[in-house]
Amino acid sequence: MKKDIRFTSANFKEEVLESKIPVLVDFWASWCVPCKMTEPVIEELANELKGKIKIGKLNVDQNPKIASEFNIGGVPTFILFKEGKVVKRETGARSKQQLLEMIKEAGISI
């Protein structure tokens, strides 16, 4: 995984909650096959939407506190944050198209 899209407990507040632009967080685990298959899509989107929306991943096993704060009950879970607030969340594998739609539905222009 590329370093610049890794969220952890250490940087979550600054990178996600206090971010100036919207953030899409992919809550994932290494034992989760759908998460692994979504990895390339997340990397692609992170590159394509750079500057408009920040996209990154948070490992739920390594960061259990944040995972439980957001009541993650299954992975992958995608949560969209805008100005520190949850604006949309979805659980289960998503195609690139479906993720783009999720972002649009949240009223974020890309």
Partner: protein
């Protein structure tokens, strides 16, 4: 290097400490609505067994590139003196890999119970390339290549305690599991053989998974599956690498879902292949329940006789079988060509399969060993380097035999004793090994076939083929019938053999 960016999260030399709770697969460990418990503050930390002086640290903070224990090799960074255990080390692939890894500096250990030697003997056959006893193999490996191999004769199915002790003693950092019966026709002989193959393969592997859970959960398991698990879907839909990619979407009833990460359908083609599919599910579950890490390697048909190590001395050669049960197709074709039996295509002969040369398969295995999966990760690769129709291969073997070895090679179509499509579309994906693991095939198929002709034409080996040539034409029918298949047609090669030589850049003497 393909594994520069792997971190201690991937590394088998790491013990995970802190809140390591892997019962939580897909479930929440905390009760909703309740106050978070204190322990949720504790994170997973790494402790290095090789560098304990580092103390506890973030498992993703050190990359292989930065760790002095991971050292550059032509196939990626490899752990210094990496301990690799090969189950099935006496086999065609196991022995070859042992010498290959040994010469890369790995500390190789291995297990075998000589099942393969017994099965081949039971069928009245033998390996046409003579192989030494294990004692002599070990001695020659030391003498010729300076490789020391720690070997135990253990039956992984019936001697689980001994296997567990050995694994506990060696603490391998990777386990390559080849120790299964590899033959489809052998599993179709009768009920006893079907049961023996399924028991040996499925239950042997299941036992191993429990041992790994208890003794070496951080070790990566490289488990051999086969491309035959997928079958050949007649719709022509691609054969993915084990799981659907995230962009595969299921449309139904005006709705849609991503299929990303779900296992693709399997359609095995013999009771042997069914055993491999069952393995797939057992390994997949073990990763999910216990955080084991595994590559399930969907390997194509292997061909060839050469690596630098096995060719270094006649005592180091690996086995090569040609009989209807254990002879894989290209290996068998070359033997047929040498003793004047027309090469046999089953049915229409337009079956398409994925293939990979012996040497290239060894490189792929090394690149995967070098890049261990993450905790709990079940990963699948399709390990092939090219896709050919069997007819195309028969013509290629015939062409090389005729042109360079002065042999009057014929090709025939015979009744198909198997239940399979002998004319079908085939789009297998095999992108992961090149894209993610830096593999490019090095072996030219025509050159390897040429090399096989050279070796198998040697008088001693030719004689061994002659002795067993009556075991080549199949008598084992999937229906249960036992009779030799009948010839349907002798093919006219004049037209076909004119095929473009350039395409294969055939070896020039």
């Amino acid at each position: 290097m393909h594994n520069s960016n792997c971190t201690c999260w991937n590394c088998p030399a790491i013990d995970l400490k802190g809140k390591v709770d892997f019962r939580a697969c897909g479930q929440s460990t905390t009760e909703f609505g309740k106050k978070k418990d204190e322990t949720s503050e504790v994170y997973i930390m790494a402790e290095c067994k090789r560098r304990p002086e580092l103390g506890l640290f973030d498992p993703m903070s050190i990359t292989f590139e930065d760790c002095p224990q991971w050292q550059k090799t032509p196939y990626g960074y490899l752990l210094k003196d990496m301990r690799v255990m090969i189950l099935g080390i006496d086999g065609y692939l196991g022995w070859t890999l042992a010498l290959w890894l040994g010469s890369l500096g790995c500390r190789v250990s291995g297990v075998d119970n000589y099942n393969r030697r017994k099965w081949v003997k039971e069928r009245g056959s033998h390996t046409v390339i003579p192989i030494s006893s294990m004692t002599e193999r070990l001695h020659s490996a030391k003498e010729v290549l300076g490789i020391e191999i720690d070997f135990r004769e253990i039956d992984i199915l019936n001697e689980k305690e001994r296997l567990k002790e050995f694994i506990d003693e060696v603490k391998p950092e990777a386990i390559v599991h080849y120790a299964e019966c590899p033959s489809a026709p052998f599993s179709m002989i009768d009920v006893d053989h079907a049961i023996e193959v399924q028991k040996n393969n499925v239950l042997g592997t299941l036992g191993l998974l429990f041992i790994m859970r208890d003794v070496v959960p951080e070790t990566s398991l490289l488990k051999l599956g086969t491309m035959g698990e997928y079958g050949t879907p007649l719709t022509g839909r691609p054969i993915f690498e084990g799981m659907f990619p995230a962009d595969a979407v299921l449309h139904w009833d005006g709705r849609e879902w991503s299929l990303g990460g779900e296992l693709t359908p399997r359609d095995p083609v013999s009771f042997y292949h069914v055993s491999k599919v069952q393995d797939t599910f057992n390994v997949y579950e073990a990763c999910k329940y216990w955080w084991l890490r595994s590559y399930d390697i969907m390997q194509g048909v292997i061909f060839g006789v050469h690596t630098d190590q096995v060719s270094a001395d006649p005592r180091l050669r690996t086995r090569l079988d040609i009989d209807e049960w254990f002879g894989t197709i290209i290996n068998r074709f070359v033997a047929q060509a040498i003793v004047g039996i027309p090469l046999t295509l089953y049915g229409r002969g337009n079956q398409i399969r994925g293939f990979i040369a012996l040497r290239d398969a060894m490189e792929c295995m090394t690149r995967l060993i070098a890049c261990p999966p993450e905790p709990g990760q079940y990963a699948v690769v399709n390990q092939i380097s090219g896709v050919y129709s069997l007819r195309q291969l028969a013509y290629l073997v015939a062409q090389i035999g005729r042109k360079y070895f002065d042999l009057d090679v014929q090709v025939q179509r015979v009744e198909n004793p198997r239940v399979e499509a002998d004319e079908h579309p085939f789009e297998a994906l095999y992108e992961k090994l090149p894209k993610n693991y830096g593999f490019t095939p090095k072996v030219n198929i025509a050159k390897e076939i040429y090399r096989m002709f050279e070796l198998l034409s040697k008088p001693q080996i030719r004689e061994r083929i002659e002795e067993k040539k009556h075991l080549i034409i199949p008598k084992t029918w999937w229906s249960g019938v036992k009779r030799e298949v009948k010839r349907l047609e002798l093919l006219d090669l004049k037209e076909e053999v004119k095929e473009d030589e350039e395409r294969y850049k055939i070896y020039q003497r």
